[in-house]
């Protein structure tokens, strides 16, 4: 047993942790935008699945990875607008709107893949992103291969955290966003356009979810699978609560869950005398445990779930 846990094992584990955390960071930041404006976006799971497919199909037919990323972001934005139409313009139940979008986007993913690709014996694959090895820095022992030999989308995800933090806490838009999320009536009285602020938040959120979706098929795997997102959208909803709606704390939660994901894959490979399904369960069980632990102290933006209608 001891030989397994070498330095190499831990470098591999931590490197995989960052990789697995990438879509979680991006999508959770997206969800933070939505919820900070007062809208719970349960469309996240379906949006990630559908954008992962769109990214795959675009790259499959054009051989252009960045075009895949771009279309995924655009489609994510379109779904953000759809979510905004329901929750901002119509002001109907945010729970049901989000679930409806997830059901629709998931159904559409299955339909589109089967209609375009069919069900071949061997699913088609693409040439994924290569890791971007940063010169010099990647040569640092231990830290180098963990931090500086990652996919470019992973670097983007890590950089997004301070950027989102800056937007939310230091810009005028961020101020409006927080005001609208806490007290839309007061924000409106101060001349902030509540509708527009929520629209922008849901558009940014959808774009980030699309970017996260593209990671699944363009970096993490080289093909599309129906279960490729596998509930990670719901994990992101929990991560927002865990992070207490603070972008900086998203990193901690995403690393924790990415770590459990990476660890369970390795434990499966080692082959303990436990059915591998119990390892697959770990991230979901952990999410529930964490939710229980943080639920009492979680303070959501006050206007969440409440539609705002200007009379």
């Amino acid at each position: 047993m001891k030989e397994i846990f070498t330095i190499g094992f831990f470098i591999g584990l931590f490197s995989a942790t960052l990789r697995m955390a990438t879509p979680l960071i991006l999508a959770t930041l997206g969800e933070v935008f939505c919820e900070r404006s007062g809208v719970l976006n349960l469309g996240i799971e379906g949006i990630m699945l559908f954008t992962s497919l769109i990214a795959f199909l675009t790259t499959y037919f054009t051989n252009n990875l960045w075009l895949g990323v771009l279309t995924a972001i655009i489609v994510g934005i379109l779904f953000g607008i759809l979510m905004a139409f329901f929750t901002v313009n119509l002001g109907v139940s945010q729970h049901v709107s989000g679930l409806g979008i997830t059901l629709f986007a998931s159904g559409l993913s299955l339909f589109t893949y089967r209609q375009i690709i069919g069900s071949p014996q061997i699913p088609p694959t693409i040439e994924t992103f290569k890791t971007l090895t940063i010169p010099v820095l990647s040569k640092i022992p231990i830290i180098g291969p963990i931090l500086f030999d990652q996919y470019i989308l992973t670097y983007i995800a890590l950089l997004s955290i301070p950027i989102v933090s800056f937007i939310i806490y230091k810009t005028n838009f961020g101020l409006s966003l927080r005001a609208v999320g806490e007290n839309p009536e007061a924000a409106d009285a101060l001349g902030i356009n509540v509708y527009r602020t929520r629209y922008v938040a849901l558009i940014i959120g959808g774009g980030l979810m699309g970017l996260a979706g593209s990671f699944f098929t363009l970096a993490y795997f080289n093909m599309f699978l129906y279960g490729i997102v596998g509930g990670r959208g719901w994990v992101c909803i929990a991560l927002v609560i865990f992070a207490n709606w603070d972008p900086a704390r998203v990193l901690l939660g995403a690393l924790l869950f990415g770590g459990v994901d990476a660890l369970q894959l390795r434990l499966q490979a080692i082959g303990f005398n436990i059915p591998y399904q119990f390892f697959l369960m770990m991230p979901y069980v952990l999410t529930i445990i964490v939710l229980v632990l943080v639920a009492r102290n979680a303070i959501a933006p006050s206007s969440i779930l409440k539609p705002y209608r200007r009379e």
């Binding site: 059901l103 629709f104 559409l108 339909f111 509930g231 909803i237 369960m281 639920a295």
Partner: protein
């Protein structure tokens, strides 16, 4: 020419005919949107939609299969509807269905030496308890610890699916075929068939009975009153002297139990053994059914038949036209969204501005 202008005007009350008509209008609009998607797939939407209905209703075989599909859908639909009535966001009917199926299979393959009708009752009881307990976890966490129920009920679906797979690939693996499926349940535990030369089984009666019981509970009992009060306003319910915590826990238990019965029916009425894929998402369809049925037991009954038609017909249509049967999933999503958008017409009406 200037376009006519419309504006929304607040309604005083919703006429009854409008309440009845709205789901049908929503279905009609959903078919228009679905047609656009079928057009994108390069197929003919008219023949596609026609063959959905023909496949589900046009032949005796199709009609019987529609009733078979309606059986679990009635139960998951009413389970979700019951939970939503009390604002318990049970998105976990899929997992609770599997919990019920797991328990029923356990009882079924244990080969108890009891008369058939007792065996069937036993299966229903253990299935209800298992589904109920699986939903009780998120129910308890919501009621006692304020843990978000949407996320927990959803995550529990993934957990039980892995649990079922672990059991089927492990201790319950069929020793003869070596496939990841349980052995057959005792013939004594099998649900009787209702109609000759069909797969329609006793589960349909269970479904109808549950719809009736839920109707009675919601409309005519103290518990039902409390659930409706919490659904209308959880904060005010505390002042009315309703024990909100206790009511949420009971709601979760009953809702999960009903979804568990759907799993019992699939095992004891249809497959006679447990596989990993006894449900192609009946639990999630239950959400759409509950909403389309307006959280009303009778409405839920109609909505389950409607989606049974779509799911059964889509398989026929897939063979006939080459449009994949996943169109059924697309239609479900679109119907939910269209309906949701139209619900605003309960509150407002569209008036033309002169």
């Amino acid at each position: 020419m200037p376009l006519p202008k419309f504006r929304l005007e607040k309604r005083e009350s919703v006429p009854n005919w409008f309440r009845m008509a709205l789901p049908f209008i929503a279905i009609g609009i959903s078919f228009i949107f679905s047609s656009i998607i079928i057009l994108f797939a390069g197929k003919n939407p008219v023949t596609s939609i026609y063959s959905i209905f023909y496949g589900a209703l046009g032949t005796r075989l199709g009609l019987m299969e529609t009733l078979v599909k309606a059986t679990p859908l009635i139960l998951t639909g009413i389970a979700v509807s019951f939970a939503f009535t009390g604002k318990f966001w049970n998105i976990g009917a899929e997992g609770q269905l599997y919990a019920g199926a797991l328990a029923a299979t356990w009882a079924g393959i244990s080969n108890f030496n009891i008369p058939s009708f007792l065996y069937i009752i036993l299966l229903l009881v253990v299935g209800f308890i298992a589904g109920g307990l699986w939903a009780l976890i998120p129910g308890y966490l919501k009621a006692k610890l304020k843990v978000d129920d949407v996320v927990t009920t959803l995550l529990m679906n993934y957990i039980i699916l892995y649990l079922v797979t672990a059991i089927l690939e492990g201790p319950w693996r069929d020793p003869v075929t070596m496939w990841p499926q349980s052995i057959m349940i005792s013939p004594n535990a099998e649900f009787p068939k209702l109609l000759q030369k069909s797969r329609v089984h006793f589960g349909l009666i269970v479904g109808l009975l549950v719809v009736f019981l839920v109707y009675i509970i919601i409309k005519h009992t103290k518990l039902g009153f409390n659930i409706r009060a919490i659904g209308a306003n959880p904060n005010a319910s505390n002042f009315l002297g309703i024990n909100v915590t206790k009511t949420i826990i009971i709601t979760s238990l009953i809702s999960g139990g009903i979804a568990g019965l759907a799993g019992v029916g699939e095992v004891a009425g249809l497959h006679y053994h447990l596989t990993e894929n006894i449900s192609p998402g009946y639990g999630y369809t239950g959400i759409v059914i509950a909403m389309l049925g307006g959280l009303n037991p009778i409405g839920v009954l109609f909505a389950s038949f409607f989606f049974a038609i779509i799911i059964t017909g889509a398989q026929y249509m897939s063979r006939a036209t080459g449009v994949t049967s996943f169109i059924a999933d697309v239609i479900q999503g679109i119907t939910l969204l269209v309906l949701l958008a139209m619900l605003i017409l309960y509150e407002y009406r569209i008036r033309r501005v002169e």
